[in-house]
């Protein structure tokens, strides 16, 4: 293995990491709105919060396809191990996404069954978020690999730890949803979102703390990555930044800021993501398969890199434009 493929493979790990994070950032808040949906009153509050994501949810979900498709293309072995290992979770997530995705259109088309599609939207969102979190936990706790294939049973993913990570993602997405609504709505919807954001912020910090505390005890390797000298000097910055982010979040919420809570909530997610990177890198299946083991040959990765380098900036540009077209508060006074 020469330097060239190491570079390519690392770059691709970065691109996929970026796609997954972009997915979490974007679909996180719209799944979060689905999770919180039952707490909104029927009528204006629900319609407003739905409208705040209707023009963008489809693009948001495309990052999940890029994450999955990119993994397939750049790290086919990882794709072929992780998906069978977390099979029921992935299937449940996909079915949850089906229900919530169709609800965007259906609830407007069928006033008589709107209550039903609202439940579908909400349950689908909870299911998708919970299974995404559990999948993360299942990967972190380790997957049984033999001869480059998944060799465990079909319920290996189920553990107290994966249940914890599942709950953590549900709570975290709900926080993103609430803070997004603080930004994008006004009136009673915004007030309700504001009231929800405080306990959700506390809960997110609790679950983030719990997952972070549990992870190093899963195996010695995670412990060493986080607490060995001198690495601890660097890794200790992560909890420190989390603390700064959290304080800013509560301060912003108290002061009545509209954008700051969402931005700081994203900051918490970003730091959680960096923490995951510290725990996992350079493995893609922890302790079993590194990114280099799983990598597609350099000519495949290079071919895609040329496209990705050109196209991803263009995607970000027109996605940004689409968000800009629908900027401002939704619903009550129209866009400015």
């Amino acid at each position: 293995m020469n330097m060239a493929d190491i570079d390519l493979t690392t770059i691709w790990a970065g691109i996929i990491g970026f796609a997954v994070f972009a997915y979490v950032v974007m679909d996180g808040f719209d799944l979060g709105i689905g999770i919180l949906f039952p707490t909104f009153s029927v009528g204006e509050e629900r319609d407003q919060s739905m409208n705040s994501i209707a023009p963008v949810w489809d693009g948001n979900e495309t990052w999940l396809v890029l994450g999955g498709g990119g993994l397939f293309a750049a790290f086919p072995l990882a794709y072929a191990i992780i998906l069978p290992a977390t099979y029921p979770l992935i299937i449940a997530m996909l079915l949850g996404l089906v229900f919530r995705g169709v609800a965007f259109e259906f609830r407007w088309r069928d006033a008589r069954h709107r209550a039903f599609w609202d439940v579908a939207f909400s349950l689908g969102s909870v299911l998708a978020a919970f299974t995404q979190g559990m999948t993360l936990g299942a990967i972190l706790q380790g997957v049984h690999v033999e001869n480059d294939a998944y060799a465990g049973g079909w319920l290996d993913w189920l553990s107290p730890f994966s249940l914890l990570t599942g709950a953590a993602v549900v709570v975290g997405y709900a926080l993103l949803g609430a803070t997004w609504l603080i930004w994008k709505t006004e009136g009673s919807t915004q007030e309700r979102a504001r009231r929800l954001a405080l306990p959700l912020g506390v809960a997110t910090l609790v679950v983030l703390g719990a997952v972070s505390a549990a992870t190093p005890f899963l195996t010695y390797d995670y412990w060493r990555r986080w607490f060995a000298i001198p690495g601890v000097l660097l890794t200790a910055q992560v909890p420190l930044l989390v603390a700064i982010c959290a304080v800013t979040f509560f301060w912003g919420l108290k002061r009545g800021a509209e954008r700051l809570p969402f931005m700081t909530a994203l900051g918490l997610f970003f730091l959680g993501f960096v923490g995951l990177g510290i725990s996992i890198y350079p493995y893609v299946v922890p302790r079993a398969v590194t990114i280099w083991d799983a990598a597609a040959p350099p000519q495949s990765q290079l071919f895609m890199l040329v496209g990705a380098a050109v196209i991803i900036p263009i995607i970000l540009a027109y996605t940004g434009w689409a968000y800009w077209v629908f900027r401002g508060k939704v619903g009550t006074h129209g866009y400015h």
Binding site: E44, A54, P55, D58, G59, T62, L64, L66, G68, G69, F72, A73, A74, P76, Y79, A80, I81, I82, L83, P84, Y87, P88, I90, I91, A92, L94, L97, V98, F99, G101, V102, E105, F106, W108, R109, D110, A111, A120, D148, A149, W154, A296, P297, Q299, S300, F303, G307, A308, I311, I315, Y318, T319, W321, A322, V325, V330, G331, T332, G334, Y335
Partner: protein, 470 residues
């Protein structure tokens, strides 16, 4: 129900189910996106309000179909890994990048501009909105191009080498992989198929409303446009299909022989079997009705040209002939029915009676779903005809699946069936209900435009429209 089935059969059933259900939506939305582009373009060019009305009418229906296409498509991007992990590991280095390009160049383009297309009519200028419509339409076509390239590579693999891990890897240039031998034929055939599917639906909706009100301008316009498509595209489609068949005969002869039902070689020219009951067990077609020499005339353009038979191939390389034989006939039969409709409409047009011949309208309604059936039958022909391989001639289906318990696959298959039928069944019902309403002058935009002011919230708009109906 599933006791006697192994994980491979179940995984195949699941993939067949999810991909068939999925493809129904793109088959319609590829054509509809282009149709919307034409409508909006004509509106901008002529300023004729009927085009704007039709645009809004079909946009609402398109939104539902597209949404269902997206969510069922997300499922597909994970089905390769969940159920076909060995195939994914082995073929990933070749087909994975093509699918990644599909995501990058098509899915984001469609999704990014869809929001503006659906909700941005009053937020951006007319020209910019038209641009968004064009980008969505372009996205559907780019998407078709990449995924057909992937599928065609599985049918006619080219440009690959096999590495020490047993993976297919690019041998050098990517061009022979992307432009593999069956790709151009399959792409053109699929896209025209999607256009015809849309034309059949649009024609049927127009005809339905013409039967009630011959003066409805929107119904007249859509029926006329759809019948032009039927008249012009079906002959091209039949020609392209024939060329595609010749290409298949060259690269996948066993598939063509299964389509034709030829178990035995025909050294003096093959007949064309119109109907019959093929059986792989006895290797013959029972009760067959055939036209001598016509098979060779079609496939070789020479009535006496010899054709091989399936018996020239090892038994373990035969596809399941009865399925391929019948799905092919369904597709071809419907194609000729569409041709008949197109010719009939030309006659009606020539006689100045396009909006008056109620039997033409009834026939058009009857053929409304024919595009979907034909498209699915065509896919069954080509996919089942590829069996018993996932990568034709190189990787067997029985060696491609994930190491999963049959119970896991069976459970998820049942879950997919329940969810798809309920969710997509409801969506189809909503689309049909919208199609049942005649296009009106001043067709409202989708009722959930986010910038709507307080007081006329979307809920109120929906409530009003329900009342109007009642």
């Amino acid at each position: 129900m599933f006791e006697n089935l192994d994980a491979v059969i179940l995984a195949r059933a699941q993939f067949a189910f999810t991909v068939s259900f999925h493809f129904i939506f793109p088959a319609f939305s590829i054509g509809t996106a282009s149709y919307l582009m034409v409508l909006e373009g004509l509106w901008l060019k002529t300023g004729n309000g009927v085009y704007a009305n039709l645009y809004r009418y079909w946009l609402k229906i398109f939104a539902i179909a597209f949404g269902m296409g997206v969510v069922s498509g997300v499922v597909m991007s994970y089905q390769f890994g969940t159920n076909w992990s060995v195939f994914s590991t082995k073929a990933g280095p070749v087909i994975g990048p093509l699918m990644a390009y599909e995501v990058l160049t098509a899915f984001f383009l469609e999704a990014g501009f869809l929001g503006v297309m659906l909700f941005g009519m009053n937020k951006v200028g007319k020209r910019l909105h038209f641009f968004a419509t064009c980008m969505v339409a372009l996205g559907t076509l780019i998407s078709a191009t990449w995924i057909i390239s992937v599928n065609s590579w599985m049918q006619t693999p080219a440009g690959y080498a096999i590495n020490e891990k047993g993976q297919f890897v690019p041998a050098g240039s990517w061009l022979p992989i992307i432009f593999n031998p069956s790709f151009p034929y399959r792409l053109v055939h699929t896209v025209i198929g999607a256009y015809l599917t849309t034309a059949m639906v649009v024609g049927a909706v127009g005809a339905w409303h013409l039967l009630r009100d011959r003066a409805n301008l929107g119904a007249r316009k859509m029926f006329s446009m759809a019948m032009w498509m039927a008249a012009l595209l079906t002959p091209i489609q039949i020609f392209v299909g024939d060329a595609h068949g010749l290409n298949t005969l060259e690269h996948q002869p066993a598939k063509v022989l299964a389509m034709e039902g030829h178990y035995e070689p025909s050294p003096n020219g093959a007949s064309l079997i119109l109907f019959g009951l093929p059986s792989n067990e006895t290797a013959e077609v029972h009760y067959k009705l055939e036209v001598p020499q016509l098979g060779s005339l079609i496939l070789k353009h020479d009535p006496n040209a010899p054709l091989p038979g399936l018996s020239d191939f090892p038994r373990d390389q035969w596809p399941p002939v009865p399925i391929v034989f019948w799905s092919f006939r369904i597709m071809v039969g419907l194609g000729f029915a569409m041709l008949g409709l197109g010719l009939w409409s030309l006659l009606a047009r020539w006689r100045g009676a396009l909006y008056d011949w109620s039997w033409l309208h009834r026939a058009s309604i009857a053929l409304g779903p024919s595009g979907f059936v034909a498209v699915l039958a065509g896919w069954v022909t080509t996919e089942v005809g590829r069996q018993p391989f996932t990568v034709y001639g190189l990787l067997r289906t029985s060696e491609s699946h994930s190491p999963l318990d049959a119970a896991a696959v069976a459970t998820s298959l049942i879950a997919f069936i329940v969810v798809y039928f309920s969710a997509f069944g409801a969506g189809t019902y909503y689309m049909l209900r919208m199609m049942a309403k005649p296009p009106q002058a001043g067709e409202p935009e989708p009722p959930k435009i986010p910038q709507r002011a307080a007081g006329i919230t979307p809920a109120a708009a929906v409530a009003t429209s329900t009342e109007r109906k009642a």
